[in-house]
């Protein structure tokens, strides 16, 4: 499987995706177009403003060892866009000057594939920020040079957040590729052996559930209980928390929705499940998202739609916290993904 970009798909462009979200496929098939912004206006949240700049999320690049069907980054081995050390230096400078950022959340692609990943983590540690790494698990087994990642994570007190779309093989492999489930289980065992997820170790291992199809996540607490029971019983694996994440209808997941004939129904479902409480708690209010090339976005999804922050501080080299704190967050129809039902964020449900 190749990325949409390598395939030359129209959906590889942000403009095409936004057009479909706003007007439907080919402007022919009817899609619910009740503007997301109107929903925010109805509950007094428009313009959507940040609450605090707390989480500094960095997308270190689109390069990945996996090609997941639902990937909103359109990441994969054929993507070469990764963050340079110069841009990382600019990120470090912004972090140093802005103590309100308590957490640095590293994502990708597979952030570990960036050759400067370990150097960067070491530098962030010096600033005494909490570090989260979104590890896809299979990277640990992908190459000998990554086998010691669990030890590296441990020595830098990193919180590991890993996708495991389901506790059974079939749903996981359908979404992430054949063999991913077995490799993920092996990687989780290695993390457990290092102390991750083990009671009293202080090493946090959280898992991410996202639906392998055109449906919404079930209740986070019920799923977490089941994951814990099954992973312990079948594989003797333990972890801390499960985050349920709704698939946002952009990029490769949008491609899947369209090809499977589910796009309109999925949008209807998200729109009719709009939850004002989830809207209050959306992650873009306390998070900034930095792209591999240093541009700043309200969230990783806006990043993929090329919607840069609406203020004068659009690049990390000219980071201006006042401008960013006072900006209005950009929203569009894809935002319904974060406000449906129990809501969704990089930390799971929000309502």
């Amino acid at each position: 499987m190749k990325s949409l970009k390598a395939l030359g798909s129209k959906l590889a462009t942000a403009r095409e995706q936004i057009d479909i979200l706003e007007h439907g496929i080919d402007h022919e098939h009817p899609v619910s177009t009740f503007p997301f912004a109107e929903n925010l206006r109805n509950i007094g949240l428009l313009p959507l403003k940040p609450t605090e700049l707390e989480i500094f999320q960095i997308n270190m690049g689109k390069m990945c060892n996996q090609v997941c069907q639902h990937c909103h980054v359109d990441a994969g081995p054929d993507r070469k866009e990764i963050m340079t050390r110069d841009t990382m230096q600019q990120c470090l400078e912004a972090l140093k000057n802005n103590p309100s950022f308590k957490t640095v959340d590293l994502t990708g692609g597979a952030p570990e594939m960036n050759p400067d990943f370990r150097w960067f983590v070491g530098e962030i540690r010096k600033l005494e920020k909490k570090i989260i790494v979104r590890c896809n698990l299979t990277i640990i087994l992908a190459n000998k040079k990554y086998h010691d990642l669990p030890e590296f994570f441990k020595s830098h007190e990193i919180e590991v957040v890993s996708s495991l779309p389901f506790y059974a093989k079939d749903r996981t492999d359908k979404q992430r590729g054949t063999g991913v489930f077995e490799d993920s289980i092996k990687a989780l065992k290695k993390l457990n052996e290092t102390g991750y997820g083990m009671e009293g170790s202080g090493l946090i291992l959280n898992l991410v559930y996202n639906p392998s199809g055109a449906f919404m996540p079930a209740a986070q607490n019920s799923l977490e209980k089941e994951y814990k029971e099954v992973l312990k019983r079948d594989f003797n694996i333990v972890f801390n928390s499960l985050f349920t994440i709704t698939n946002i209808p952009i990029s490769r997941y949008l491609d899947y929705l369209i090809k499977s004939g589910n796009f309109e129904k999925y949008m209807d479902k998200l729109i009719s499940a709009f939850n004002p409480v989830a809207a209050q708690n959306v992650m873009c209010r306390n998070t900034l998202s930095i792209g591999w090339d240093g541009y700043i976005y309200d969230c990783d999804f806006n990043q993929m739609l090329d919607m840069k922050v609406a203020c004068d501080s659009q690049h990390v080299s000219e980071f201006n916290s006042d401008a960013l704190k006072n900006r209005s967050i950009l929203v569009n129809q894809h935002c319904y993904g974060c406000t449906a039902g129990a809501g969704s964020s990089c930390g799971g449900a929000v309502a």
């Binding site: 639906p211 019920s222 089941e226």
Partner: protein
Amino acid sequence: MANHYYNAEDLGKFGSIGEFQKPMADKFFAWYGEVFGEGHLTAKEKSLIALAVAHAVQCPYCIDAYSTDAFEKGFSEAQMMEAIHVAAAIKGGAALVHGTQMMNKVKEISM
């Protein structure tokens, strides 16, 4: 009026039955919500029961809703099909067990 009896979009309009009789609809939906909440049975267990019953009563709306719900809640394809076999077995058995009434009647009237 549509020229067919079932329309998938009507499922989404279920909530609007209150337009013609609100107090009863309100009571129904409140009760319905409570029935499907966590109780002595989990919401997940109830979803599978609902899926089986949906097939027994052959309600296309309920089949649509609870196929999604049961799959969302984590049941596998095989588990869901087994639940439908349970519904089918009860329906088949229900027909067949009446064979004893037929036998009673035939024995009653035959020499």
